[in-house]
Symmetry: C2
C-alpha cells in the first residue's frame, strides 16, 4: 500500500481546518483537499461577538489559518465551493465552484459540515433573515460584518435566546450603547451551563443594565418599509402579549446540525439529529469521519447522546479525525465533559458535567459555597461561587458550576476530578496552591466539597 | 466514657489554631486549652512580607482568629505562655506564664510548636539577630514590625536566600524604594519549586531591578556603632570575596523544626528532624498528635520524607489532628503534593510535585511549552510557560511547574492529575474550558502534555 492517500474534507470550520492540519502532520505526502462553501478559511466562530463589541479590532483577525498557511502546508483549499453529492460507491466527492464542476476522489473523507441556526417560529420572519433590515442570526463572519454595518443606525436591540451567545451579544451591544432586551422561553438564562440558583444572582445583577424577559416567547415581528420596528413577545404562563421596540433583532436560539450530505451517503444519525461518531471520530461508514457541530457523541457522566457544539471539543475531534484519516491512531476522550465558560457584563461563568436538569433528584445531591479569590486578610479579593453535584450512590463528583473570579480555571480542575471519577471526600483534600497575593489557604474548589461532603455523610448516616 | 475530653494544644500558629477550631467543631463539650508563647493568636505567617510592602495595611490584619473568637468558642487561649515540660506518664503539660506556673492535664495533646529560622554560619552575626541594628529574620509578627520600624532609615537591603520568602521580601523592599541585593548559595533562585530552565528567565528579567548573586555564600558582617554596614559574600566556585553595602540584612534561609518538647516526651523524629506523623496526624505516642512546621510527612510522588512547611498543608494537618483529638475520624491526603505558588516582581509562579532535583534522569522525562492566556486573535493575552515531568516507565505525570498568567490555578489542575496518577496521554485530552475573552481552545495545561507525550511516544517506539 504505497499508494498516495487522498483525504477530502468537507467544511473548513474549526473541525475541518484542524483535521486538515493534523492530517498533514500525520502524512506528509497525502493529497489533502478541503471544500468550503464560504469565503473564508478556518476562523473562530466563538470570537464573533467580540468583533461586534470592538474588542477584536477586525473580523479577519478571527482567521486562524490563512489561505497562505494552507498553501504552505500543501493543502488544497477550495473556497466558495459547495459539495453537491458524495458518491460512496466510487469514493468521489462532487462539488461546484461557481459554474465549475469538480470531482475529487477520496480514500478518506471527513465530513465537517457544521450546523445552521435554529430559528423559532416567529410570524412574519423572512426565511433569509437579512431580507428584513435589522434581523440577524450570528453564525458566520458575514453575519458579524452585516451586524456591524447595521449598528450605527440602530438603538433598540432585542435578542431572542439567553444562552451563552445571547448573553455575550447582549453585553456586546450594551457596550456599544444600545438599549438591550433579551427574550428567553425558559425560566432562567444560560440553562445549559448553570442551575437556576447559580444564574439567579446574575439575572438580579443585570436588572439595571438590560431588560430580561424569561418565560417569554417571541411570536411575531412588525416591519415598516422593509425594516423591523417591533418584536411581539408572549408570556409563557399567561399568554399576555407585549410589543418591544426593536430596530435590531438577533436570533440566538441554538443550531441544527447540517447533515444532508452525510444522510444521503448513508451515515447513521443519532437521536439528537447529529452524525453518530465513535471514539476514533469514524461515522458508520468505513473511511468516513465526522467532526464538529454536525456530529453526535456522548456525555462522559450521563452517557446521554449530545451534539458537541463547543469549540474546544470540535478541535479535539478535528485532531482525532485528521490523524486517523491520515493513517495514524488517536482517540477522543472517553466522553464529553461539556467544560465551558463565558463572560458577560464583567462576570465570568464556567461549568463542567451535567447540570441538575440532566440528573434526577434521586441520583444526586449538591451544594454551593461562596469564597474569595484571596485570603480574607488581603485587600482586593474577588468573590467566587461554586456549586457541585455528586452521586448519592458513591459520592463521585458529577458536575460543577462556577460564577466569579477565574471561574474557568477552577472548573478545569473540576473537569480533571470528574474525568478521574473522584469522590467528594477525596477532592475536598486536594492540596491547592496558596500564597497571600494569589490564592487562599483553602480554595473554594475544596471548600464547596466540604459543604457537600458533610451533606453526603449526614445522608449516609441517616440511611 | 462520658468523661469530658481534655484537649491541650501547644502553639497557636496556623496548625495549632486550626486544630483548636476543628476540635471544637467535633466535640462541643471538650475542654480545649491552647498555649502560645508569643503575644498573638493564630495569624498568617505567609502574609508577613505584604505587611512590610504595605499591601496589607496593618500587621494585626494578619490575625485570622482573634482572642475574642477563642473566647466565644470556649477555647482557653493562654498567650505569653511557655510550655516547659510534658509529663507523658501523668498526661500533664507544665507551663509558665510570667511567674505563674500552670499544670494542665490532657487526654489528647497536639504538638504544634512550629519551626525557628535556620541561620547559616555568618561571622560576627549575633545570636539574637536584632542585637545588631539592621539584622533580621522574618518569622514572626514582631519580626515584621521591627523591619517596618527600621525601613525608614535604611537604603541598602541585602537578603540571604533566594527561596520563595527571600524573593517575596526582595520584591517588597524594592517596592519600598530600597536598593536590593540577594545572595543565594545555589546556582538558581527558588530551587525548591522550579527547575533551572524555568527560573532562568525570571532571573534574567530581574537584572535591571535587583542585584542577584547565585553561587555565593554570606560569610561575615561588618558593623559600626552596633549597626550593620556591610555583608561580605564569597563566590562558591572561586572563593573570591566582596563586600556589599548593607544597612538592612534579612536572613531567609529556611527553618528548623522546633521539636525539643516532643523529643523529651519520646516522640519519634524522622530523618528530616521533624516529628513523624501518620495519616491521622498521630505521633509515635498514643493520644499525642503533631501538626505544622514541626512535623514530617511524606511526599505523595517520591515517598521521600519531607518537612511540611507550606501553610496549606499545615492547615490540613490542623483539621485532621483537631478532629481526631476530639474523637472524630479524619485522615490527611495520601501524601503531600507540595503544591505551592508565589508572586514577586509581577510574576506568578507555581509548582506541584517533585522538581528534577528529586527525580533521577533515568526515571523521568520532561518538557515545556509557552502559550498564552487567551486565543491568539484576542488582544491582551498574557504568556504562561508550563513544564511537566513524567515517569518514563508508565507515562504518569509526576510534577509540574508554571510561570506566568494564573500559574497557581493551572497548577491546581495538575495537582488533581498527579493525585489521580493520570498519564500524560490521558491528561493531554483533558477538556478545558474555552471562550475567547477567557481562555484559548487548548490550554497550555494540555499543550505542554502534547509536547511531552510526543517525546514519550518517540522514546517508547525507539525501545
Amino acid at each position: 500500500m504505497n499508494q498516495q492517500r487522498n483525504i477530502v474534507i468537507i467544511g473548513c470550520g474549526a473541525g475541518g481546518g484542524t483535521a486538515a492540519q493534523f492530517a498533514r502532520k500525520t502524512d506528509r505526502k497525502a493529497s489533502i483537499t478541503v471544500f468550503e462553501q464560504g469565503a473564508y478559511p478556518q476562523y473562530s466562530k466563538c470570537g464573533l461577538p467580540y468583533v461586534i463589541s470592538g474588542r477584536i479590532p477586525n473580523s479577519t483577525d478571527l482567521i486562524e489559518f490563512s489561505e497562505e498557511w494552507f498553501n504552505k502546508a500543501a493543502i488544497t483549499l477550495m473556497l466558495h465551493t459547495t459539495v453537491e453529492e458524495i458518491d460512496g460507491v466510487n469514493k468521489v466527492v462532487k462539488a461546484n465552484q461557481g459554474n465549475k464542476s469538480i470531482e475529487q476522489p477520496y480514500s478518506s473523507l471527513i465530513i465537517a459540515t457544521g450546523a445552521h441556526p435554529s430559528v423559532p417560529p416567529i410570524r412574519h420572519l423572512p426565511t433569509e433573515k437579512h431580507e428584513v433590515e435589522g434581523v440577524f442570526c450570528l453564525r458566520t463572519l458575514d453575519d458579524a460584518n452585516r451586524i456591524i454595518d447595521a449598528l450605527t443606525k440602530k438603538t433598540y436591540a432585542t435578542i431572542v435566546g439567553a444562552g451563552l451567545i445571547g448573553m455575550e451579544m447582549a453585553d456586546c451591544l450594551h457596550s456599544r450603547g444600545m438599549k438591550v432586551t433579551i427574550v428567553e422561553a425558559l425560566p432562567q438564562i444560560v440553562s445549559t451551563v448553570l442551575d437556576k440558583d447559580m444564574s439567579q444572582p446574575i439575572q438580579d445583577a443585570l436588572k439595571d443594565k438590560i431588560d430580561l424577559f424569561t418565560n417569554h416567547f417571541a411570536t411575531s415581528i412588525d416591519q415598516q418599509k422593509g425594516k423591523i420596528t417591533h418584536l411581539t413577545i408572549s408570556n409563557g404562563e399567561t399568554g399576555e402579549e407585549q410589543k418591544i421596540k426593536t430596530d435590531l433583532l438577533i436570533i440566538a436560539t441554538g443550531t441544527t446540525p447540517e447533515t444532508v450530505l452525510a444522510e444521503r451517503l448513508g451515515c447513521t444519525l443519532g437521536k439528537t439529529g447529529g452524525i453518530k461518531i465513535n471514539e476514533k471520530a469514524e461515522t458508520s461508514i468505513p473511511d468516513v469521519y465526522g467532526v464538529g457541530d454536525c456530529t453526535e457523541y456522548h456525555d462522559f457522566v450521563t452517557k446521554r447522546s449530545i451534539l458537541t457544539g463547543l469549540g474546544s471539543i470540535v478541535v479535539r475531534q478535528g485532531i482525532t479525525a485528521g490523524i486517523n484519516a491520515a493513517g495514524g491512531s488517536y482517540t477522543l476522550p472517553p466522553g464529553v465533559l461539556l467544560t465551558s465558560t463565558s463572560e458577560f457584563f464583567g462576570m465570568e461563568i464556567a461549568s463542567v458535567g451535567p447540570t441538575s436538569q440532566h440528573l434526577d433528584d434521586a441520583q444526586s445531591i449538591g451544594g454551593k459555597f461562596t469564597g474569595s479569590s484571596l485570603p480574607e486578610y488581603v485587600p482586593g479579593g474577588k468573590p467566587i461561587t461554586m456549586k457541585i453535584l455528586i452521586d448519592k450512590k458513591d459520592g463521585c463528583v458529577l458536575g460543577a458550576q462556577a460564577v466569579g473570579s477565574n471561574a474557568a480555571l477552577r472548573i478545569n480542575t473540576m473537569a480533571c476530578a470528574i474525568l478521574n471519577r473522584m469522590t467528594v471526600e477525596s477532592l475536598r483534600k486536594l492540596e491547592t496552591a496558596y500564597a497571600p497575593p494569589i490564592a487562599p489557604t483553602l480554595d473554594v474548589t475544596t471548600l464547596v466539597c466540604d459543604v457537600v461532603a458533610m451533606k453526603y455523610n449526614r445522608m449516609k448516616r441517616s440511611l
